[in-house]
């Protein structure tokens, strides 16, 4: 079973790089190879422009798939082990526990934690030693809505402070809300990669209606910047390369002698945009 094939891209320093794809598309496999827990049959990668080794991994905070900790040890003692392996002192443990809201329960055994707390501890381990590069594989797994919002806020803060973040997720809006760059995987193939706004382009469109929709459609097709217009029921949908200006459209139609009874700006849903990308690549 081949999980990945011909996937190649660079993660620019300082970017928040989203790895997007449905379940089973190869996101975790990709990150597993980069962190040396999975062995690729062929291919290569570099970390910090160097051949990858444990020394480079120690400079990266990684949360891969699930939080992996010693069940019988407390959060604090688990982080002591992480710190020892990362060859960093214990002085950062209190800080990361505080950021992740675990200070109160830091001396309870990991096995007594809820799913959300386990995930928070995994994020605390990622932050340990304040690494410049973070790999977060589905970091909001198991978190409640406020936890999800907190993690997003944290990722944004880290990005603002200049960290490079690789964020794998199947949640589209999560990626769009925090990422600057994105790579889209499907069935182990890289479909697209680049800055998020060019990859997931979500052109706006307007919905209009007038007494004579055929005339309206013809007029819109002549409107500068309009890439297409179609009649759906009693509504005309007009598509644009750039964000359209509703007031200008209204005025234009009036000049053409068309009085609009309905005008609404719309945005293509993320799901539609994503499905389009994956379908175009598939066909």
């Amino acid at each position: 079973m081949q999980a990945l094939s011909g996937v190649s891209f660079d993660v620019p320093a300082g970017s928040v790089f989203g790895v997007l794809g449905p379940n089973g598309s190869g996101k975790t496999t990709l990150l597993g190879i980069v962190t040396d827990v999975l062995k690729a049959d062929t291919g290569s990668f570099t970390l910090f422009d160097k051949a990858p080794s444990a020394a480079e991994r120690r400079q990266i905070g990684t949360l891969l798939e699930t939080p992996n900790f010693y069940h019988y040890l407390s959060a604090y003692k688990n982080l002591e082990i992480s710190a020892a392996i990362k060859q960093r002192g214990k002085d950062d443990i209190a800080r990361v526990l505080e950021i992740c809201g675990l200070t109160q329960r830091q001396h309870s055994a990991f096995k007594t934690y809820s799913l959300g707390m386990k995930q928070r501890l995994a994020i605390a381990a990622v932050l340990l030693g304040d690494p410049d590069v973070l790999i977060l594989d589905e970091p909001t797994n198991g978190l409640d809505p406020s936890g999800i919002a907190e993690v997003r806020e944290l990722v944004r803060k880290l990005a603002d402070s200049g960290k490079t973040i690789i964020l794998a997720s199947h949640l589209l809006d999560e990626v769009e809300k925090v990422c600057t760059h994105v790579a889209i995987l499907r069935s182990g193939q890289l479909l697209l990669s680049g800055p998020v706004h060019t990859v997931i382009s979500r052109n706006d469109f307007v919905e209009l209606s007038a007494a004579d929709n055929t005339q309206l459609q013809a007029a819109m097709l002549r409107y500068p910047g309009c890439t297409g217009a179609e009649i759906q029921g009693n509504i005309v949908r007009a598509f644009f390369a750039e964000s359209p200006d509703a007031a200008a459209i209204n005025s234009y139609c009036a000049q053409q002698g068309i009085w609009l009874s309905y005008l609404q700006l719309r945005k293509k849903s993320l799901e539609t945009a994503f499905l389009e990308i994956t379908n175009i690549a598939a066909s």
Binding site: T35, A54, K77, I81
Partner: protein
Amino acid sequence: MKQIIYTEWLKVRNYRTFWVMLLLALVIIPAGNFMVADKLSGNMEQISKMLGNPFSFPDVWLTMASLNSYISALFGLLLIILVTNEYTYRTNRQNVIDGWERRQFVYAKLFWLVAISVLTLVVATISGALVGIIYGNKPFSLEGYHYMLYYFLQFNVMLTIALLIGVLVKRAGLAIVLFVAYNMMLDQLLSFIVKRNAGAIGGLLPLQSGDELLPFPLVGKMVSTGDQYEAYVYVTAMIAYIALGIYLVFRKILKSDL
């Protein structure tokens, strides 16, 4: 290596199961030694006139080494638990993700193999010496101590098998069942079958190699064990088994997905 040992220490420092098993395994050595010495020496006067006192130096070393070889398995279980825990909690992955080379993970587990076996040798030596002093009738002597080294070597073979099973099977329950089955029965059974059909070569199975060098003193003197190789053949076989086992452990962990 210091950093690896420190990390392993952090893992077990507050792990009650580890300390209970270690203590139990270590207590069983002197407890078994003294119990046997105490029970037998009362009824031994006649026999010892003929065959010598097995609890006197230098014979006590062979007696205790032979006895201890029957109660090694608990240490193997301890090592299996230390190894399979890492797979259960998936911390073998996390250790590598956090910045260990895969081989450092193997070193960490080999550290336990060495630490447990050295600790056992020390406890067995002290226990054997005390039995010799208390129940024997000759002054302390290290003559015959090489039997303790045979025991040490066999102990390392046993731990290597435990390590290998732990790494290959990954699940504590199944690993323990397989290890106990091999340790208690399979090795001896196979050895018996091969010996019967092909002669002394049957004594070269991993655990049997040690047993060939550690006959129970009185029985060994009364019953001839038949065909046997020179001691160095069994010693070489055991060293080869340890090397092969460690090679396979490295190979498995370096090559496969974690």
